[in-house]
Structure formats: structure tokens, C-alpha cells
Symmetry: C2
Subunit: 230 residues, 2 copies
DNA sequence: CAGTGGTCTAGACCACCAG
DNA sequence: TGGTGGTCTAGACCACTGA
């Protein structure tokens, strides 16, 4: 703990903040002072403080100095893994079943969500993901065929659409929404649950610059929860 | 864009990855090579690459070098704001109503969740958060009185419990769970919705080292979704 | 055991902005 | 306008680990 690396120093300072050495809103010593106190270079202190700022514990401004945030804006991070990995990490045996697969002209809401030209064709895919043979999540996916031509012939009985796309089609950005929805006919049947059951739902849309690739809605089985730490 | 700062270089490299210059799984040039190519010091390249690794785009190992991840493990980040700020940021007028407030001996599941001694006392609080007078979320909170003695007299009609705790009681760590649940009697009434409606739910437990402070369950009104970008 | 990334240093200059 | 944080540099040493 008396080491002079940026991690030790960061955690030491974090401790002094949570111990209340500097009250919320109070000014902290400047980088130069802290560097002297810890016997390290200002660069190292800077690195420690930048991380604390990123974590939402402190606020930094040029000229104004560093102060403890009045209201710590802690941030939660989620890795969004491939479903197969998520299931296997939990000790389950992964399998999947394609329940529906069809290419068609994009309906209006998909056309607008994927910024498609009128009449553009898309692949629609319903997949049930299973853990140890039990339904785990139901996926309703739309793929822009123009963005991923190979998708029409991809062997989705062997590799899941998500995994195939992630490997074959690069993407630069994405949008994610978490919500709760009531199971409809299709979801209830796929997940072997009752109509109206509350399902934790993740909707994702991904694109590469101007080219929208896919949008997907993933409904998890009842009782599922997503966990992280602050 | 031809600047030699770590951000430009990071984004330039990110572009070369999404453009497929290096295939998934392929080795990338070493830091020294990239530094020469971009005409900057190795330190700057290192900083750019560390960020890309944190973003899950590349994998780095000593001796083995840097390679593009086979499956990019993009990570989503959420700031978890004070509910009042969330509502105000959306343009609503925030208000809250304490529906229930009582100190009592902790029931078993709370005693275990907050690591309490047998017979420890807790404050239980039901709060309805409103936006423009409409129910926005329902909060069921338990506070360890030993960890926050002032809580029994705190003016929760003026300041929300979350905000009060964040200001008054420092915490070091937390645990967050997202899920979907069906509205029970209490939630349905508080949120003016129907029994069984699917509610997006956030459960949080926070502690300071060994001292567990509070655990809370926040049920959002139907239709709520939490959004972020990848 | 050699080569990669991880880190620290001392010094320098700059951008910003509160006083 | 002066003091703060933001950043870059060149050089150095170290830790790790794959060949």
C-alpha cells in the first residue's frame, strides 16, 4: 500500500474521500501538492485523479482545481456478452433453435429504425436461446441485407446470428435500451411461460457509420436479472 | 485530424480496426511501430491503445503483443443519476410523496442482505416519485439505522431519501440488479397502473467497507426504458 | 530469455478560465 | 493574467510470458 504506483495512490485518495477528509464540494489539494505528499511525479497523480474523475467521484477544472463531487455520479458498466458465453459462464449448456426465418420488404418501423430506402429487403429471424435445454431468451432480429449480404445463406443452425454478425460485419456504434415488457403470444410460447409475464428486454441497434446493420429485441425468461457493481 | 494527440490517434486506430485493416484475431503493430508511424512518442500510443483495450476492441498481452479481439466485447456504461435529476433532465417537474415510513426490527431477508445483527433496527420507506405530478417510479427502501443515525429524523418530505443518503453518508461500493417484475398491489396503486403490469426494476445495495447502509428497490412506471450507447 | 506492454519520471508547453 | 489541469516527450526500468 506504500507503493508509489498510480493504483495505490488512486485508492489511497479514494479512501480519503470516502472517509470524509474532504467534504462533498470541498477543494482538494492540487496535483503538485499531492505529488510531493506521495513522493511521486505529477504525471502519476494526474493519472490517479483522472480515473477518479472518470468514476464520477471528483470534478476537475482547469484553473479552478479539483473538488469532491457534491453528488457522486457513480457509473455502472456492463459488458454485453454473446448470449452463448453468458450461458456457458453460468455453467449451462448452450443451444439455440431458429423458430422463424424469412426475407421480406422492410415494414415501416424497421425501415425507419434502420434508415432503409423504401422497398429495401431485410431478414427477419426468431431465435430461442436455451440453457441446458430450457428456454433462456427469445430473440427477434431484423438484418439489413444490403449491409450483410452473406446473411441470407448463413448457417444459423450452427452459429447464432449475433455471433455470426459480430464476426463477419464490423460495426462502429450501437444503441441499447433496457425495459420490461409483457410476454405476448410469441414470447410466451417461445419461453414456455404465461401470457403477460414480465420479461426483461434488451433492444439493440448497431451501425457502421451511415450503414445500419441490424436491430434486435431480446426477451429474457421470467426471473432473469442483470447484475453489476458500482 | 492529423493532430498528434492521443485522442486523434486513438480514433484513427479505431477506424482502421472497424475498416478491417486488421482482421479479428490478427496481430497489430507494436507500440513502437505505431509511434513512429504517427510521429509521436510511445507513451501517447500506449494511452490510445489502453483506451481501446478498455473499450473491449483489442486485447493486449506482454510479450504477445496487441491483437484485435475476435469478438468485440463492447461495454455499455450507465450513469445512475439521482431520480430528481433524471426527471428534470427530461423536462419534467420533480416531486415526491412518502407513502410509508416506519422503523422496525429487520426482517430476515433484510437482515441477511444488509449483514445486520439479530434485532438490528431499520427504517423502511415507501416513496412515490412523480414527474409533472404523474407517478414516475415507486421506491421501497430499507436503511440500516446504525449506519445512518440521522435518517430517523431526516426531512424526507423535503429531500428524497436517496439524495439525503448520498449527501450525508459516504459509501464505497454498491451492487445493482436490473430486472422485470409484475406490479403487485402496492406498486400498481402507487404507479396508478394495473395489477401485473410489467415494471422495469432496479435494486441497489450500498455499503462502506463492512458497514451495509441501504438496500432499495425502484420500480419504474410501465413503458419506461433505460437507454445508452455502445 | 528476449521482446512486448506497463509504468514512472522530470521537464516542458499549452488551454482554459476564475479572479 | 496567473495558476490550474491536460498533455506530450524521451528515456528508463520492470513484469510478464510466449517462443
Amino acid at each position: 500500500m506504500n507503493e508509489r504506483n498510480h493504483i495505490s495512490i488512486r485508492e489511497a485518495i479514494r479512501g480519503r474521500i470516502t472517509d470524509g477528509e474532504w467534504a462533498p464540494g470541498a477543494m482538494m489539494p492540487g496535483e503538485t501538492d499531492l505529488a510531493e505528499e506521495y513522493g511521486c511525479s505529477r504525471t502519476t497523480v494526474n493519472r490517479a485523479l483522472q480515473k477518479l474523475a472518470e468514476d464520477g467521484l471528483i470534478e476537475r477544472k482547469r484553473r479552478a482545481g479539483t473538488r469532491v463531487r457534491e453528488i457522486p455520479s457513480r457509473q455502472a458498466k456492463f459488458r454485453i456478452p454473446i448470449l452463448r458465453h453468458e450461458i456457458e459462464a453460468a455453467g449451462g449448456a448452450y443451444s439455440s433453435r431458429v423458430a422463424f426465418r424469412e426475407t421480406l420488404k422492410a415494414p415501416g418501423f424497421i425501415q425507419s429504425r434502420l434508415r432503409l430506402a423504401t422497398g429495401a429487403r431485410v431478414l427477419r429471424l426468431h431465435t430461442v436461446h436455451l440453457s441446458d435445454g430450457q428456454p433462456y431468451a427469445f430473440e427477434d432480429r431484423w438484418v439489413n441485407i444490403k449491409a450483410a449480404p452473406g446473411v441470407v445463406d448463413a448457417p444459423f443452425d450452427i452459429i447464432s446470428a449475433n455471433e455470426w454478425l459480430v464476426r463477419e460485419v464490423p460495426y462502429s456504434s450501437g444503441d441499447v435500451r433496457f425495459s420490461a415488457m409483457a410476454a405476448g403470444q410469441i414470447e410466451a410460447q417461445a419461453l414456455a411461460t404465461s401470457l403477460g409475464a414480465p420479461l426483461f428486454t434488451v433492444e439493440r441497434t448497431t451501425w457502421l457509420r451511415d450503414l445500419y446493420i441490424t436491430t434486435t429485441k431480446l426477451c429474457y425468461r421470467p426471473g432473469y436479472h442483470m447484475r453489476t457493481e458500482l
